[in-house]
């Protein structure tokens, strides 16, 4: 690794135990809880040396005392010192925690390994057995074991161990099964190693992490169960100090000395909390990530735009959407990283405009900025989005709601995830109708069926009650389109709306969109990486590269006479455009990542025509193209082969 990533996401690398230890050591929470548990263990072990009194020594002169200098945590109903009993009680808790988890692992891990190793019927039978064992609350199993074997430390460990062993078996089985799959493909087999050998060499290291996490968690759980059983009088012999037993006394004496409940109770909570936090922490380290990036939504608002810009546009030009100088930034710990830079783009009534670019060029981010749907940690840093002359960027939520659906609507790439899987499509389709037109349930349903019919879904009335998974990809995309159209939007954004579909369906959906454009007098922003789609459906197109629009123009002009070297290269490398093309021209290099954009022309490092002046300072849009050499280049050469 040469450079740390700027976005703050950690990449899971192959875990090495040394690296793992270092990562663990860097987390104060893990170190802190581990240290606490070590100190607790040491105190418990050294209880005879540390405890101020004999935990069994009764003193009838000092019954049920509160905290005092002599007895820091008071005394119980027989005048025994609470602090001393607490220290001795820790021995029981920790012994049982370690012992029972040890037993659970000793039973569960080999069992899980065997199930995963033998597979087949063994596995099916074993898994059913695990299921059966889960029909019982753990504590009931404990009751049964204690009834059979009688009370005692060993019984307690065994009882709790048996409660947990099946979970260990389950985890082990899962890891073993996953590794077995890999092992069969492994070249190591060919190299002459026996399967068991590979099994254990591969499985055990992979198992270590999950087992540590689970063991720590179950030690906490074991401490709770032990305290419950001791509380019920099923733990150790009467008189032996344990936290649960102390709570049992506290329950009997709660009317006379309420304080008795707190020292052992808090001791249990803190101990269990320590085990749990340790388990979570180790789990986080193993998962190699954090739960949530520590970034905020909107830290500061976009500067206001001069008002005079907003007034004149619509009536004269028939402009539906006017994107003016939009810049989107990602908030990071350091400087904000631009994702979209100073984009200007307008769309006229019923016009279809393509927005083309490679992945990572920022086109979807631009669409989200227009929709006011920017993901967390990104924000509109400057610029405005005019819809019919009205600036909708940064409108309050309530106002935006009126614009969404009937002003601007969107169709996303994957229709299967764009619809809620657990709601009928009828219900989802009715939402915009009810929200925007205040339709009654039945009226909305009727209209929804009409919409489905219009987008070409057969049997629309009946299909309203179907769920998304009951539709094919193409049909589900038609449903998504129906939903986007429900409130008769002025502008539809199709964000890679046909990319996930097969070629035939793609053509049908494009035709549908173009038909709807004429019918509803609706403009379309067609975001795609597919130049074929642009050629087939768009009036104009804008080409985006590394966060900037580099060229805008009519589709014919753009395809026949590109003026930006990137446009030309894109055309030359498009595999779908020309069947007769013999060789795929590819653009050398890749799109630079956000945050690594050069100060000058973003394309300069991949451009065959770049000069020194190109890299010196930002290149402005001149006319419809963002290239210093646009005037003196004739780019037909690059795509000449095609004609």
């Amino acid at each position: 690794m040469s450079k740390p990533l700027k976005t703050g996401t950690e990449i899971a690398s192959t875990p090495s135990s040394a690296g793992m230890l270092r990562r663990i050591a860097r987390r104060p929470v893990i170190v802190g809880t581990a240290a606490f548990l070590l100190v607790l263990t040491a105190l418990a072990a050294a209880a005879p040396l540390v405890a101020p009194y004999d935990p069994l020594e009764q003193n009838y002169a000092e019954l049920l005392l509160g905290p005092s200098a002599d007895h820091l945590l008071g005394t119980d109903e027989l005048g025994r010192d609470t602090l001393s009993r607490l220290l001795y009680g820790a021995r029981v808790s920790l012994l049982v925690a370690f012992g029972s988890v040890g037993i659970a692992m000793a039973i569960g891990v080999p069992l899980g390994l065997a199930l995963g190793y033998f597979g087949g019927w063994w596995d099916r039978l074993g898994s059913r057995a695990i299921d059966v064992s889960e029909a019982l609350p753990g504590i009931l199993l404990g009751f049964a074991v204690i009834a059979i074997l009688g009370r005692g430390l060993g019984t307690l460990m065994l009882a709790i161990g048996l409660m947990f062993c099946m979970t260990f078996a389950r985890t082990t089985r899962a890891v073993a099964l996953a590794e077995r799959e890999k092992v069969y493909l492994d070249a190591a087999r060919v190299a002459g190693l026996g399967t068991p050998e590979i099994m254990f060499r591969q499985v055990l290291p992979n198992l270590a992490g999950p087992l540590i996490v689970q063991a720590a968690m179950f030690m906490g759980a074991a401490a709770v169960v032990e305290s419950a059983l001791s509380f019920l009088g099923l733990g150790l012999e009467t008189g032996v100090p344990s936290w649960g037993g102390m709570l049992s006394v506290a329950a009997d004496e709660q009317g006379r000395q309420p304080f008795l409940a707190f020292p052992p109770g808090l001791a249990i909570i803190v101990t269990v909390l320590a085990f749990n936090v340790l388990s979570d922490g180790v789990n986080d380290v193993l998962a190699g990530g954090r739960r949530r990036p520590a970034t905020r939504r909107r830290t500061h608002r976009r500067p206001p735009v001069a008002k005079d810009v907003t007034v004149k546009a619509p009536a004269e030009t028939g402009t539906v959407l006017d994107v003016q100088g939009v810049t989107v930034e990602l908030d990071t710990a350091g400087d904000p990283v631009p994702l979209v830079q100073d984009v200007w783009l307008s769309i006229r009534r019923a016009e279809v405009v393509g927005l083309v670019g490679e992945s990572g060029s920022g086109k979807s981010m631009l669409a989200r900025a227009v929709l006011n749907l920017l993901p967390p940690a990104t924000r509109l840093a400057s610029g405005s989005v005019l819809l019919d002359g009205r600036d909708i960027a940064g409108l309050p939520e309530r106002e935006l709601r009126k614009v969404r659906g009937c002003g601007i609507s969107v169709v996303f790439q994957d229709p299967m995830t764009a619809l809620s899987p657990v709601h009928t499509i009828g219900r989802q389709l009715c939402e915009p109708l009810r929200v925007h037109f205040g339709m009654s349930r039945s009226a909305a349903r009727e209209r929804a069926a009409e919409l489905l019919d219009r987008v070409g879904v057969e049997n629309p009335k009946r299909r309203l009650d179907d769920y998304p998974h009951q539709f094919s990809g193409g049909m589900a995309q038609r449903v998504a389109i129906a939903m986007a159209l429900a409130a008769k939007p002025r502008l539809l954004i199709a964000d890679e709306a046909t990319s996930a579909l097969d070629v035939t369906t793609q053509g049908q959906v494009l035709d549908l969109l173009l038909g709807l454009r004429d019918e509803l007098d609706m403009a379309i922003l067609m975001i795609t990486h597919d130049l074929g789609v642009v050629a087939e459906s768009c009036d104009r197109a804008a080409v985006m590269y590394a966060g900037q629009i580099v060229e805008v123009g009519g589709v014919r002009e753009l395809f026949d006479g590109p003026r930006h070297p990137y446009t030309a290269a894109l055309l030359a490398s498009d595999p779908s455009a020309e069947a007769e093309m013999h060789r795929l021209a590819t653009i050398p290099g890749g799109v630079p990542l956000a945050g690594e954009w050069p100060p000058g022309c973003h394309f300069a490092n991949r451009c065959a025509f770049a000069r020194d002046t190109c890299v010196e300072q930002p290149v402005p849009m001149t006319g419809d193209v963002r290239c210093l050499r646009a005037k003196d280049l004739t780019l037909e050469v690059m795509i000449g082969e095609r004609h």
């Binding site: 609350p137 009834a147 709570l247 249990i268 969107v410 657990v422 939402e431 915009p432």
Partner: protein, 313 residues
């Protein structure tokens, strides 16, 4: 849907059979013999033989097994050694208190768990962190200790509720409900924390799903999106945790009931464990297993209701 239920019912039969077989073999696991365990170390061999004959323990295992299953079919769980009463009657007498408490705990953990989980999942800043810390503590609190503290505070210090709380629902429904409040709160705290965590995770995941964007872009108000769409998607994984919670609640109720002097199954089992009253332990284990298996079945049906993909086509 009917098919799903039928399928689950068929699956439950071997599970029940396996559990009852295990339960039957319980007495054979006792070192020595149950009679010796009951009589204690000072018992003479003659006396042990006598008691064994009295309890029918001297008959061949297969014969006893046949009887056991035959009686089970008729709902007969045998006679308690200690009380000389039918085990079925003893358990049925105490089941209402246990079920009341368990369902009370379930209500508490669902309401608090889902409420806090949704809050934490929707509001990512301070509320999320507070709920995160609260659930960590909630998971670490022993239910019976929390019950003890609640009863110290509300029954003894403030005197708002009676210390001994259980009234059968058939006698006085409102007194029954009032008596359930503290015990249910105590019982539900741990599982509430579990459900809250699961709900939060599922909610965060649901809110990051593309369908949320689709609905937002269609102009649907945020609140409606969260409460109608994200929440239902969230409930699918939460249902599994809820089912798992029920089993924990049932087990913990045996401990919590002693704190509030509830006349539940836990107390009966406890005296039976101490007194080696094996028929009662066997009957109790079997009954509880039946309840858990039935509930798991309901949960699976619930899955079918929540997630259309689970329904057989």
């Amino acid at each position: 849907m009917r098919k799903l239920i039928a399928y689950r019912l068929v699956l439950a039969v071997p599970q029940l059979a396996a559990v009852s077989l295990l339960v039957f073999s319980l007495t054979y696991l006792v070192p020595g013999s149950p009679a010796a365990a009951i009589l204690g170390a000072s018992a003479t061999p003659e006396r042990i033989k006598e008691v064994e004959a009295q309890l029918g323990l001297d008959r061949p295992a297969l014969e006893r097994l046949g009887d056991w299953f035959w009686n089970l079919l008729g709902g007969d769980l045998g006679i308690s050694y200690a009380l000389s009463l039918p085990v079925t009657d003893l358990l049925m007498e105490r089941m209402p208190a246990t079920l009341s408490l368990t369902f009370g705990g379930m209500v508490v953990s669902l309401v608090i768990g889902i409420g806090l989980g949704v809050l934490a999942g929707v509001r990512s800043g301070l509320p999320d962190r507070i709920v995160g810390a609260a659930t960590s503590v909630g998971l670490a609190i022993p239910e019976f200790w929390f019950g003890l503290v609640l009863s110290l505070l509300f029954a003894i210090e403030l005197g708002w509720v009676p210390v001994v709380a259980y009234t059968p629902v058939t006698e006085d429904p409102s007194a029954w409900l009032r008596g359930l409040i503290l015990p249910s709160l105590a019982l539900g705290i741990g599982t509430a924390a579990m459900i809250a965590r699961q709900t939060r995770t599922a909610m965060v995941q649901a809110l990051a799903s593309p369908y949320i964007d689709t609905l937002t872009a269609a102009g649907v108000p945020r609140r409606r999106i969260v409460l109608r769409y994200a929440l239902k998607n969230t409930m699918v994984p939460v249902l599994a945790t809820a089912g798992f919670s029920f089993r924990i609640l049932l087990g913990s109720s045996f401990v919590v009931e002693t704190v509030f002097a509830f006349p539940g199954v836990g107390g009966l089992l406890l005296t039976s464990v101490v007194g080696k009253d094996f028929p009662v332990i066997q009957g109790g284990v079997l009954l509880i297993a039946c309840i858990v298996i039935t509930l798991n079945l309901l949960i699976d049906v619930g899955y079918g209701l929540l997630d259309p993909k689970v329904r057989p086509q």
